[in-house]
């Protein structure tokens, strides 16, 4: 896990006069899980969009892989006013064969019968698992995932993070995960990037997620309890 798959140097993103990301530098190693933490408006989603080249930026972004998959927050995925599309047809957008689709459906714990269901007929939890399957069906090296558990209940959140953890272990996947959810950091992240327009802290969760740093990011007294799942 020593070789960097992403190097970011002096990244600046502005919308007009407003600075969204300022002088940001960090590296992500191959096979690492980096969690990007920060309050609303901290520039987390903007950072992911800049990393994907979707918006203009200044600075250097150097990817060691072109095989990158991206999942935006579920609220930004249009599910209505679409053609009457089945899940299977949605997977065919990636030109993958049915055998691979069935295999990944099994891995995310979805029944194959859902392939014939309409794209907008799944529950929020099923939909997110389906989207994870879609993102990973063509074996990307890197997954960028923004608000993986948006709109999902607590039980469902655990399922989503466990799924991502399993894929990370099995596939040597590099994951960049944007979240508000402090609870998952210890269990799933190798490193954390705390963002509030600029880099507030960066490193291993156990070393950097101190009450002082959290207060610096969120501007209020946040207490953090480490959960151990048995």
């Amino acid at each position: 896990m020593n070789e960097p798959i992403l190097k970011v140097k002096n990244l600046n993103v502005s919308f007009g006069e407003e600075e969204i990301v300022r002088e940001l530098s960090f590296e992500v190693k191959r096979g690492e899980v980096l969690i990007i933490l920060g309050p609303n408006g901290a520039g987390k989603t903007t950072l992911l969009r800049a990393l994907l080249g979707l918006i203009p930026y200044e600075g250097e972004i150097d990817w060691g892989s072109k095989n990158i998959s991206y999942l935006p927050p579920q609220e930004l995925i249009q599910r209505k006013h679409l053609p009457p599309m089945t899940i299977e047809e949605f997977f065919k957008f990636k030109d993958v064969d049915k055998e691979n689709i069935l295999k990944i459906f099994e891995e995310v714990g979805l029944n194959a019968s859902l392939l014939k269901k309409s794209f907008n007929a799944l529950s929020t939890g099923q939909f997110q698992r389906m989207m994870i399957a879609w993102a990973l069906v063509d074996n990307p090296e890197v997954l960028l995932f923004d608000e993986a558990t948006y709109g999902i209940d607590a039980g469902g959140e655990e399922t989503i993070y466990s799924l991502l953890h399993n894929f990370w272990e099995k596939r040597d996947l590099t994951i960049l995960l944007v979240t508000h959810d402090l609870d998952i950091v210890y269990e799933h992240a190798n490193s954390v990037l705390c963002l509030n327009k600029e880099k507030m802290c960066y490193g291993e969760p156990t070393k950097i997620l101190t009450p002082q740093n959290l207060e610096k990011i969120y501007g209020t007294g946040i207490k953090f309890y480490k959960h151990v799942h048995k």
């Binding site: 979707l54 991206y70 935006p72 995925i77 249009q78 679409l82 053609p83 089945t86 065919k92 957008f93």
Partner: protein
């Protein structure tokens, strides 16, 4: 012979418009086809002034109109529908200044009574082109509708495909103007797609349904015109609406 040529022309334009319409309905742009259809009117006026085919005049004015709408959208950030309404209103007013009085009704509701073999040949080629291009961009545009960011992150140039898509609309609207006139091109695009939406369970059925129903509506309208003598444009819309009403009986929930 003329009715046969009109039938062929109607089937091809109807099929291409119906197929393209299934994509427009997904993009919630079916109503934009109406004002764009109205934009053909100054094109028709221009064609009369220059003595060229009305579809050629319509095509260039629609392209010009789309460019103006795009420019205004970039400058003002107003919704495309609102800007389209402004541009089409100015277009219609300008057109009615210049279209000869005896040509106004055919320009508004279409006229297939004098179709040349050359016009039919060009229509067939352009309809095939629109169907082919629409098929090529269908998945990409649909993915961009689901999430423009996902599409862009997969290397899909969303702006380029939207531009190609607008060009297809311009071609279809220009061809459709001969059949149903400048007033009703939206119906040529939207009704078969709505009918197909009621009857299909997946994209394949939906897009194929739009194509078949579009062709069928135009064929029915042109054949009815041969017997009744009411302008074909109106009969095409009525037959299209009839298929839509029938589809409500069989609508999938």
């Amino acid at each position: 012979m003329e009715i046969f040529l009109a039938l062929i022309m109607g089937i091809f334009v109807g099929a291409a418009a119906g197929y393209l319409g299934t994509l427009m309905l997904s993009k919630r742009m079916a109503l934009v086809a109406g004002p764009l259809g109205h934009l053909t009117l100054p094109g028709i006026a221009l064609a009369f002034l220059l003595g060229i085919d009305i579809s050629i005049g319509a095509f260039f004015v629609v392209i010009f109109g789309i460019f103006i709408i795009w420019l205004l959208e970039m400058r003002t950030k107003l919704p495309m529908e609102a800007l389209t309404a402004i541009v089409f209103a100015v277009g219609v007013a300008t057109a009615l200044l210049f279209i000869p009085e005896d040509k106004t009704i055919p320009a508004l509701i279409g006229d297939i009574s004098q179709v040349s073999p050359m016009a039919v040949a060009v229509t067939i080629i352009l309809s095939f082109l629109v169907i082919f291009v629409t098929k090529k961009i269908y998945k990409k545009i649909t993915l961009a509708e689901i999430s423009a960011d996902i599409a862009s992150s997969r290397g899909i140039d969303v702006k380029k495909y939207n531009f190609i898509y607008l060009l297809c609309i311009a071609i279809i609207v220009s061809l459709g103007v001969k059949i149903v006139g400048g007033l009703m091109t939206a119906a040529l695009v939207a009704i078969p797609a709505c009918t197909s939406r009621n009857l299909s369970r997946d994209i394949f059925q939906y897009s194929l349904g739009g194509l078949v129903l579009g062709g069928l509506s135009c064929a029915t309208g042109v054949l009815a015109f041969n017997f009744i003598g009411v302008p074909a444009g109106l009969l095409i819309i009525f037959s299209s609406a009839l298929f839509f009403l029938i589809s409500l009986i069989f609508k999938r929930t």
